[in-house]
């Protein structure tokens, strides 16, 4: 069960917030296995517990019940082996792009020159070698997320968690981010857990798509997508079109009726 690098086992994890009568069950008991090197997407309505689950894997939230085991070790807190890309504002605005990446490399105890070289290499990988000395405020939203990806990958994590990383970007920028993400993932090969609202995005990227439902959050359906990459959102395969329709139907909220007035 703990063979290769980056095996994530979510075992009966349940997460509640608050105490006493004000308890919210954010995530009902959930089992899930992320095999090393796979790309798993989590889709579901707002508030269904996607972020909660991801935060538990990242070690930011302790499960109320159950446990999360990564390569045989139970998660007990944030771990540089488990990289996280946040939706937005995760970059440190007081460091340049290079400074942000160097922050991630500091713990490796490299020499000054080696540190700079490695950091620049990471930025170049996401096409931002020429923007190393810009501050986040000087970069567009897409560029910022590319720096964030470079920063996270700089630590060579074996697991990569992404919580709606492209949620704040416009549709077109998001397309290029998808290509970029798949490319760098191809090079680094971590186990990815990717949270999104966008069914197309999930189908474009993932090997496995888990669909969650709200109240209390649980996985209601899982799909394996074995269409080879690169996939095209403009012209989905027939298999994907069917899965897409199914997921969209699953997630369709009840219509809003006009009140009797």
């Amino acid at each position: 069960m703990t063979a290769a690098r980056g095996h994530v086992a979510i075992e009966g994890v349940e997460i509640r917030f608050g105490a006493g009568r004000r308890t919210t069950v954010a995530l009902a008991s959930t089992d899930m296995v992320l095999r090393p090197g796979t790309f798993t997407a989590l889709v579901g309505p707002s508030g269904c517990g996607k972020s909660t689950l991801l935060n538990a894997v990242g070690g930011f939230t302790a499960p109320t019940a159950g446990r999360i085991v990564i390569d045989g070790v139970e998660v007990a807190g944030p771990d540089p082996e488990v990289g996280v890309v946040f939706q937005a504002y995760g970059l440190f605005p007081w460091f340049t792009a290079l400074g942000n990446v160097k922050f991630a490399l500091k713990r490796l105890d490299l020499g000054r020159a080696e540190l700079d070289k490695r950091a620049l290499h990471c930025l170049a990988e996401v096409g931002l070698g020429g923007h190393a000395h810009h501050f986040p405020a000087q970069l567009s939203g897409g560029m910022r997320q590319r720096v964030a990806i470079a920063r996270t990958l700089a630590g060579e994590p074996k697991v990569l968690l992404m919580d709606e990383p492209f949620g704040a970007l416009d549709a077109q920028t998001r397309f290029s981010m998808h290509e970029l993400l798949l490319r760098v993932w191809g090079v680094h090969g971590a186990t990815v857990l990717f949270v999104t609202h966008d069914v197309d995005e999930a189908l474009l990227l993932a090997d496995t798509v888990h669909v969650m439902s709200a109240g209390p959050g649980r996985v209601i359906r899982s799909y394996t997508v074995d269409v080879p990459r690169p996939r095209s959102a403009a012209r989905f395969d027939a298999a994907l079109v069917d899965i897409r329709a199914e997921i969209l139907d699953l997630l369709r909220p009840p219509p809003i009726p006009a009140d009797a007035a």
Partner: protein, 278 residues
Amino acid sequence: MAVSGDARPAPRPRTRGAVYPALFRHARAPALALGRVLLSLGIVGAVWAAVSASGVFPDIIFPSPGSVWDAARELYDDRLLLPDLGISMGRAATGFALGAGLGVGVGLLTGRTRVFRALFNPFLTLLRPIPAIALVPVAIVWFGIGEGSKYFVIAYTVFLTVWFNTHNGMQYVPEVYIRASRSLGASRTREFCAVVVPAAAPHIVAGIRLGVALAFLSLVAAELTGASSGLGYRLQEARQYIRTDRMFAILIELGLVGALIDLVVGAVARRIVHWEGV
């Protein structure tokens, strides 16, 4: 934003402040702004001259611009205007440095450590409504009539403000930064120095900026007693001898120098926390 680069996205339509643009504080064209300032001050001066020329108030109560100018020249000729300013600035600077240093230090402690917070905050909160001037007698008794008591009075005010802002800044460090730092494997020390403090920096810098203004504002109170030079002393002296013209000259000096300092400190502050925008 103080820094700009070619890679920055084209400016988006500003959604703030466009309808009621700030003419004075963020003036686009410095020359134009200067013109406006001079015009405004000219008008104020004209009103002043008119009132004092009307003779409604005796010169001893409401001195004319001319006599204030003469008093300023007299102070200058007596080699008092600039030396007083220098001495006062020295006091303000020392008091400020003590107060700000301590304020940032204690703020980092109370912002970071539960024990210090529980220990200090209520006490410091009770101190905040006590004005420096009320502490002057105590300061004299404790720190003597030398520079010590003046530094104390100035540092006291600066300290409380800087502490308060630093402490609050630490309370509002966005959690995403802490999460990012921890998941990137930073030690607690590095997290503190490279994440928590910079994240709180905008508040700290704002507190320090306020502190500079307050150091300046406390000068007069600090020099009320035990001083034999400095702007506050000179003002007090002018009052003893009912030299209203001198009082006005010193007040104007205070206003000009203070406004200038605030301008400079504001520019420096924007540089330091450049990522915060204006």
